[in-house]
Symmetry: D2
Subunit: 366 residues, 4 copies
């Protein structure tokens, strides 16, 4: 990857901060950009009615091994979540989600703005348990003075980088079946989940378990774009109307089709996930070697080491990261500890990892 | 423009249909794509907090000659309209718009979905008159059993390619001031309006008259993107919350910043509008020479010739266009007439115009 | 009716204005008040789960000859309309209604506030035609850029006091069946419709034609209350959740049950409608005798005579009425004419009619 | 009170269940019914524009000692809460409430249905603490990816019958001022709060502290009705539009005016609260004497004794009450304990209290 080499040079030569802030910090993977450039002389029909989008739909269906699935390309995660939930639920129906779910905390009330309550469950590791779902439903059963729980929302990987195992998902699916709930999986970071060494949930298996889910592109090399899969045929009717109404029907829909073709047709989607996980593993190993502990044990591209508060502050002068929790909420930490989040991505390279440790070691000495 | 030359070759050699369907049928202008490619090694902060976006904001402010204006970049027109209206109005407040306005007809009820009624006024040419606004307000004044009109929505150029003159806009502004209304201008096609030979409304003048408006990028060479200007400081508070809530806060906001820099910093925005208008003028002149009349007299990149129904059908085999009206609604037409819409764009070239007339002449002979 | 006699005395003795403003201007029919007083020592379960509400449901079902119908009691018309439409439609689905429908003009955007667009059809007499419905659907068919028409809203009697005939309703029903639309009938003034001499639509017939409708109580002798009938079993699921969510589930639901028992179990509902129509007929006959014409030919309790503007103004000093239309909208009127609305009710009595004509004659002489 | 004597007879003679289920189980206080009957010959203007409503507004203003307050009469609590919050907040703004608040648990998502998120705080006694508010705001400050907390919702008395002291309310007000929050008080049961022996918050004091609050009528002797006071002039604009839009503008608004005059003009409002508290005190004392403990220490008309599970079940055959909590959530209880809720009201009489204890003693012996 020549592009990454150039970036590495840049990192070495300039005193700029290392960026472990998130996985959407650069334009997009060179192959994706090239796909756009290669198509620049062509003219396309609008709103995703073009042939490239058709190819991208076929690519998704092939990967999930479900030729009948409804597939839609949207521009971002919040948009995808709010559109799907607005389409799937009646006004009195509610979502069950972990309290730290993205839709509950970091989407500015997007779900409530389309009219639906989120019933939350406390979760240390970002995951929902089957028992949590049962408990929420037991409290709400059949009482019209309360909302009716109807859709289980979970993220794979979760907000804390953790993974649901196949056994866990099967149990959740069984609860959903028993209680008449839809299962929706936010897959903004599904690529790192699928390619994590600890993962045992294949993409076809996920597609068979969930009523709907999406494969995130924004956080895995695209300029923008998420591929929503609606596997439950009861939920597909008129979905494009909802996309349009909520402002998500891209005029140049072919841009999403072109990008997803580049990402999905030759395995790039998985390569990029593998790379991000590899880089995270190097971070993790280096941190373990240095004796750090973690806020949560996360096997994907987000890791949460616990640092002495002063070291975290010193490090911030040279490394971009997010402070995740401070005392007294840093379980397993202690006095003056800070849990930080480090995110790797397809565009993180080995030199950046090395540079990170140099800067961390320096921060620890200060 | 090498890219256009290549396209011209393609048009000549291949028997594919000419595309006069719309102005968002290709990836984007080469300069815009180049700006993205050139930035591909860099890392940016998310959600439009980056320096490129800051530069693009500065570019907008310079062009509109208002350093204090609030500027936000969004992904598409429907999204921009629904977000702005949701932010600006209280629940009982309504929009006044021409009946054929995009928000009333072609956004799948997006405005109603965020809770607001659109009070419509019949309009043959896509434009709203000051008297129409007065009449709507007279019917609603102070009666809490009816919605309260609060925002005037118009498009420059309009849905029918027509233009508001400076005198018309001043009169509308005066009515808005007198009646306590906001003036919002949908500028999806503002570039062709500003550069039309018949235009007398400068960008700074528009910015001084409207409470808010947007400069459309999607229909003027960008991959995607609209630049919303909020000139009225009473309307700016917490606007980014609304963008996020409605699903419009692009994670890689810098993509919009980079594109708008390419479009605005060196006059490309105006060049592309001029080109689209030039191509439309050639179409118009050729049609006039051949004796065709028009559904509406439109001085921008959308033109609406009236064809014999059979010729329109024959033409459709070789040219992509939109049927606008059929009998009996084709005023000035007659029996068996069809009004069609032809749209030119920055990527239309002279060879396509020539090819169009060849195919039209052939269709007329059939 | 002793109560009415007392009122008559009052009308004769005091110089107060006669009230033909509306049909909800007094507490309620004495029988209804008595039913409440008689139950004042009892204790009831809340939210309409009581036996009296059960009896009222049975009374409705008996009258409509449909034992399977879902019946709910709500507090007012706007509330009933918005709750039903919110329950029946998905977010992108729209209502078709006459432009002068109550939901479109006089409910402060209540339907839009729950997210739905109203597609309107111009109507001189307050009625919708089957062809109007076909035309609206033809313009919207299958295009996800536009809302999807899904529910036909009409009022029996209409906003202008007119009636749909059985033939008209059958044709509308056929169109609804052909186009997949629900038929909803606002029956705020259904009692005067059913008891009009010109009516040919029985209550069971209406119940068999409409997917849902309501029998208005507020405008027919109750303190408050509307009885919503949902005949289409596809629309009944979880309806009480919607009532509660929209603020319409009365804690003391038994108050509605008690009132509707008093209104429905012994024919009072129809008696009151007959009386209101009788009083309107006397008004009409007296007006015709005096040579007045009407804005619309309405066979129920709302009549719309056209008066010279100066006479209308003089009359207003002694009679409460609503100005309906002024020139130039008074078709069939002429220069300086005003159409006014006179409403009779169960509590209008013959002495008031006499007094009205005295005052009208005096106003004409001024 | 003759009516109550009659009721007492009934209780003694019939084997029907005693009703301690809630405080809205009978038609209404005799004085209130009489006020309606006395006005039955009169005709009124609609929608609360009548003189009786004006008198009721004046009565509220006199009691709260604020002649400038905006006062509106609505039909029920959920309706009042959702209308006020819809009127006061912009789309991205959120409510802070105790997790067991009525709006969070028992209004079927009414607040979310008008678009707003509720940020909840765990609370054992139904009360919110100033520190809770600070903590919620600290987590949300200025981040547009999260909702903006804007309105503090509390109930006086709370869902668990507890009271805020003057000191607590002052501290909450100070936090609201410091953080730019509105303070809204749900006063569905304000009468029992104001008249509790432990209360130190006068009605004028509450009116001076809250931006808005309501005096509940439904649970204090009215057929239906709540009096919303908007003390903050920034929140009053166009409020009647919101009432109408949300379906809460009663056509016969004078019914609310008449009832509130009967309740407020001669002190009945307070008398009824005193009576309900007295009856609750007798229950409490009898329970304490018998050695029962309580789920929460509540000095108003809701009390929460903890019973052995089997006794609770036996009692249910003869007494209507609500099961509040079962093991393991009955703190201070123990194995096989059930916390029940007993509610007294203006219509509870001494004989019912005696009968309750007979039945309780019997249940304990079983």
């Amino acid at each position: 990857m020549k592009q990454t080499e150039k970036q590495t040079e840049q990192v070495k030569q300039t005193p700029q901060k290392l960026n472990f802030m998130n996985d959407y910090n650069s334009v997009g993977h060179p192959n994706v950009l090239r796909a756009l450039a290669d198509a620049s002389a062509a003219k396309f029909p609008g709103y995703g009615t073009d042939a490239e989008t058709g190819r991208a739909v076929a690519a998704v269906r092939a990967l999930i091994q479900n030729e009948a699935a409804d597939v839609h390309f949207l521009m971002g995660g919040t948009q995808t979540n709010l559109t799907a939930i607005a389409a799937f639920l009646r006004p009195h129906e509610a979502v069950i989600a972990p309290a730290n779910a993205h839709i509950n905390v970091h989407e500015t009330g997007a779900i409530e703005a389309v009219g639906h309550k989120i019933l939350t469950v406390a979760s240390n590791d970002g995951k929902l348990r089957a028992d949590d779902i049962r408990a929420v439903c037991a409290r709400h059963g059949g009482d019209e003075h309360m909302v009716a729980p109807r859709l289980v929302f979970l993220s794979q990987s979760s907000e804390l980088g953790t993974l649901y195992s196949m056994a866990e998902l099967r149990e959740i699916r069984a609860v959903c079946d028993a209680l008449g709930l839809y299962l929706y999986v936010d897959g903004a970071r599904l690529a790192v989940a699928l390619t994590s060494p600890r993962n045992d949930v294949s993409l076809p298996a996920l597609a068979a378990l969930a009523d709907a889910f999406y494969l995130g592109g924004t956080k895995n090399g695209l300029l923008l774009g998420e591929a929503l899969v609606i596997a439950n045929p009861k939920l597909t009717a008129d979905f494009r109307y909802l996309i349009k109404q909520k402002g998500g029907l891209l005029a140049k829909g072919f841009l999403l089709g072109l990008q997803f073709c580049a990402l999905l047709e030759n395995g790039l989607y998985f390569e990029l996930g593998i790379h991000a996980n590899d880089m995270a593993l190097r971070l993790r190993e280096g941190l373990v070697k240095r004796g750090f502990t973690f806020f949560v044990d996360s096997p994907t591209n987000q890791i949460f080491p616990i640092l002495p508060e002063r070291a975290a502050e010193a490090l911030a002068a040279n490394v971009l990261y997010e402070v995740w929790e401070r005392e007294p909420n840093v379980t397993g930490g202690g006095k003056g500890k800070t849990a930080i989040r480090l995110v790797t991505s397809w565009n993180t390279d080995a030199a950046e990892i090395e540079a990170f440790f140099e800067r961390l070691d320096r921060a620890m000495r200060q």
